[in-house]
Assembly symmetry: C2
Homo-oligomer: 380 residues x 2
């Protein structure tokens, strides 16, 4: 294992009826801003539960944080928060609302413009925030990370702010999610785990087993959710997996990759494809292009997660990549740029952006512009 | 999954050379009391590392917290801490030193006698503490629990205090551990996981997989450690497993048992047997006596952890219990009271104590005096 220092201070409040606990979880004297996305929370009953829990409390609402939250929108929330003297934020929504709220938190406590904070990469000094999660996917409810977009330049960068003080996860709020959103959520969870796992073996036995356990869980529940998305136990496993996949628990002392995410973010920024859907296209291609570097771990993953242990090394690697791609197909997601209706022009653009940034991604720091091009060529 | 609320605020600082970080991790103005056990830290170099890291800092030392820490000893530490105006505790040792320091923390901040706090069961209002771990076993370095003994009455109870602010885990400090202590540590880790896992299936897919992953890890590393206890990677897995087994991560939303531990604590209190060694005797007997109640989970455990999937249900359960007992034997531990040289008189005493306490242990709250007697009879 590599040396590491790890702490995750977020309180997880999980289960049926837990939204009502907002009343006791938020400090009594707080001046609250509740942040929302579109309007789905009005239809699925979450909004009513939040309003009931906050009865008698001092709060304002901010609506309209979009998928792939834009700094242009978030600046308006910061302005409102400053004007109202807000000192506690409650994000009610999916990963985008929570991500956006992390930047609002930092910017309310700062004199700098929100995009300047994003370009700095991190600011832990924000005001406290908490979350009521409605879409299991990004893990934002139990980490400090956020991904923020800037519309005018089609840029999209990671930002690290505060951890939520607490996050409420009620699996019943997932019953009304559209099938496509569930598919993208499952894809996102799966690839989060893979980015922390599919590097080299022999780093940590426990972390390998835990990552494999999450992958096995996602594979097991995906068809069950397709058959019935109102089974409490299954949806609880779905929601819990999303949080455990990206709260740092499975990353302790091991190398990480994240090249698939970096390429996926560019696809989202340029072509507007949903985050989880972008990953389903890129991950199998990353595995294929980097098969020499990742071969030993691909073999372990194939054997332990998919039961693939016959044939030559090359055959097992091929079979494992094929099973992974089949899994994404089984979710109903496109697994190539063409299938997803994305113009192949993005390949040049992304390769050039990677080259221009000078950053080399991946656990071996070798995913530069040229490697990104090879991976995207394998996504055609 | 059951509803739950979970938070673990301890920072884990893991790896080679990390003890030197004490200098930056403890607040500069703290008046520190460093607590130790016997003298093994003087021989394995840990003491020298701690002294070097604390150079120029304001601290006193308290020596002599024994295995199964006694309130009689801890009261002396409380007296010293109060007299010296101590406001930060650093436990350097194994689970007993850390457990004892949790009670010292609470009692320094309280006007009540330390044993009165133990009888209350919990007190979160203590002064901050941290740990440098030397023996992987109890998980005390990343939870709030402690087990405290009272010599004059041979009583032993659980107490919940503060979580450590941070814990430093350097796997190299385990290289000099005696074989017996390693065996007891592995047994303790294994049974911690089992107490949170071997109840009923179909509660949480992720928690089941993570518990099984820890069990598989312990089974895999046990013979490797016997062959070479100075292999960094193996000892890192050992140390990390101990912490992950009892920091609450694998208990989220699932029922727990702990009857084996309660019986084991009595064996330690009455016969002086090491904690981990007591568990190796009791766990297989608990599985055997409660095989109807735990049967479905025993089958899952047998199949996933030991690969046992042939034969009738009863045969598989028998084979799984036998494999579990063999595992403890392979550690070099006794698996019966007789083998351990413990008088069978303890059976009556423990059964009577359980009955007198009126507490029913186990996930089905059915391990009373009579059930404890049946389990102990199966330990003969």
């Amino acid at each position: 294992m590599n040396n590491f220092s790890f702490q995750n201070p977020t309180r997880l409040v999980f289960g049926k009826g837990q939204i009502a606990k907002l009343a006791t979880l938020i400090p009594a004297e707080a001046k609250i801003m509740v942040t929302y996305g579109g309007g789905s929370v009005r239809r699925n009953g979450v909004y009513d539960q939040v309003v009931a829990a906050l009865e008698g409390r001092n709060y304002v609402e901010f609506w309209g944080i979009e998928p792939n939250p834009r700094v242009e929108t978030l600046r308006r929330a910061v302005e409102l928060g400053k004007a109202e003297g807000v000192n506690f934020l409650l994000a009610v929504g999916g990963g985008s609302v929570i991500d956006g709220t992390k930047l609002i938190s930092a910017a309310i406590a700062s004199d700098e413009d929100a995009w300047a904070l994003v370009l700095k990469g991190a600011d832990r000094g924000g005001i406290p925030l908490a979350a009521v999660l409605t879409i299991p996917a990004t893990g934002s409810e139990m980490n400090s990370g956020a991904v923020i977009s800037r519309e005018e330049t089609h840029e999209k960068y990671a930002f690290y702010g505060r951890y939520p003080e607490f996050s409420i996860l009620d699996p019943e709020v997932t019953y009304s999610l559209p099938d496509y959103q569930i598919a993208c959520g499952l894809s996102d969870i799966f690839v989060h785990v893979m980015e922390q796992y599919l590097t080299t073996p022999d780093q940590s036995r426990v972390m390998d087993r835990w990552a494999e356990g999450l992958l096995q869980t996602v594979i097991e529940i995906a068809p069950l959710i397709r058959a019935n998305k109102t089974d409490y136990r299954t949806m609880a496993d779905f929601m819990f997996s999303a949080t455990m996949a990206l709260n740092g628990y499975i990353a302790q002392g091991v190398t990480e990759d994240w090249a698939t995410h970096m390429i996926g973010h560019e696809l989202t920024a340029l072509a507007g494809i949903t985050h989880g859907a972008s990953l389903a296209i890129v991950l199998p291609a990353t595995m294929s292009v980097l098969r020499d570097q990742k071969g030993d771990k691909i073999l372990q993953y194939g054997a332990r997660v998919w039961g693939i242990d016959g044939g030559t090394t090359e055959e097992r690697i091929e079979a494992t990549i094929a099973r992974t791609r089949e899994f994404f197909k089984s979710l109903g997601l496109a697994v190539s740029l063409t299938e997803a209706g994305i113009s192949l022009d993005v390949i040049d653009t992304i390769a050039e952006r990677f080259t221009a940034s000078g950053v080399h991604h991946g656990e071996a720091a070798n995913v530069d512009g040229e490697m990104a091009r090879r991976i995207l060529e394998a996504c055609k």
